[in-house]
Symmetry: C2
Subunit: 172 residues, 2 copies
């Protein structure tokens, strides 16, 4: 592992958090990092619903089967795409753009000593429907994932997951 | 902009490169960073074709309408997904996983003073077909994007693209 890239290797999914709240300023830093991601034809088709209220975090936890940690996390983002803003209105571009933004947010959280975990939503229809209903989302706004955020109460080791069989030199 | 996150804000798409070659060691560092991205159910459904031969870079440039810079770049990755390895064989999960890996690679390139540019492939069928044919990809291996890589011959400023209208507090 090249140690200049430790900020990438030390990013791990954090599912245990302390009770300390995350400031709105830090959450805005994370969102600014997310919106610095590249997007197809610079359409930036993303939206972020910021949750810090316990009632809302608990409700989101009931919608996401693997989202139990939201009962402990003190913040979360729900990441949505605007399909009508996405390049050529293509779902693929929208998912790619949003995912790059989410990865920026996860790395930024790690850099700011926060813990975060990507919680899958799209393409699970029941999870998407639950979020659309919870927030009464307008037509064309598609929830892709949630991100649990908090001050970490665990510290997994940095690691590599390099697999040489995924690397093909000049040809398949 | 929180300066701890400058490595994110200073990542810009680089389309002009010097003639200096990129070492295989540095390219491996980038791939290791890519493979450190999270993936749905840790399926890591990604593959990377590494190009440094001029003939192959030039050929790829002819397949990608916005890939003219590949004639100058001294390296590139073609990023593919294995749909049969992706969580539940869902294209959405595959695209999300690969995009997080690509963003890691772009950030890592910036950190290592390299320049890189994300070149869209999926969902454009003609671009996908061109790459499938060029590399004779097996069934189920789906090209998502290419990344042009080289030593930068331009240095755009760090910037924010924060838009407050994308941020929704507790509700849509």
């Amino acid at each position: 592992m090249n140690h200049k890239l430790d900020y990438i290797f030390s990013r791990r999914s954090i599912r245990k958090y302390s009770k300390k709240e995350v400031s709105h300023t830090l959450l805005t830093d994370l969102l600014e990092a997310g919106m610095a991601a590249p997007s197809a034809v610079a359409r930036d088709p993303w939206h972020f619903i910021v949750l810090r209220e316990r009632e809302n975090l608990d409700k989101l936890a009931t919608i996401l089967p693997h989202g139990k940690m939201l009962h402990q996390s003190t913040a979360a983002f729900v990441v949505c795409g605007d399909i009508n803003r996405a390049h050529d209105k293509k779902e693929s571009y929208m998912l790619q753009d949003l995912s790059a933004a989410v990865e920026n947010i996860l790395l930024a959280a790690n850099t700011l000593d926060l813990g975060a975990c990507w919680l899958g939503v799209h393409p699970r229809q029941e999870r998407m429907d639950g979020i659309i209903k919870m927030f009464n989302l307008p037509e064309g706004i598609i929830p892709m994932c949630a991100i649990a955020i908090g001050w970490p109460a665990e510290k997994p080791e940095a690691r590599t997951r390099f697999r040489s069989e995924c690397v093909h030199i000049e040809q398949w």
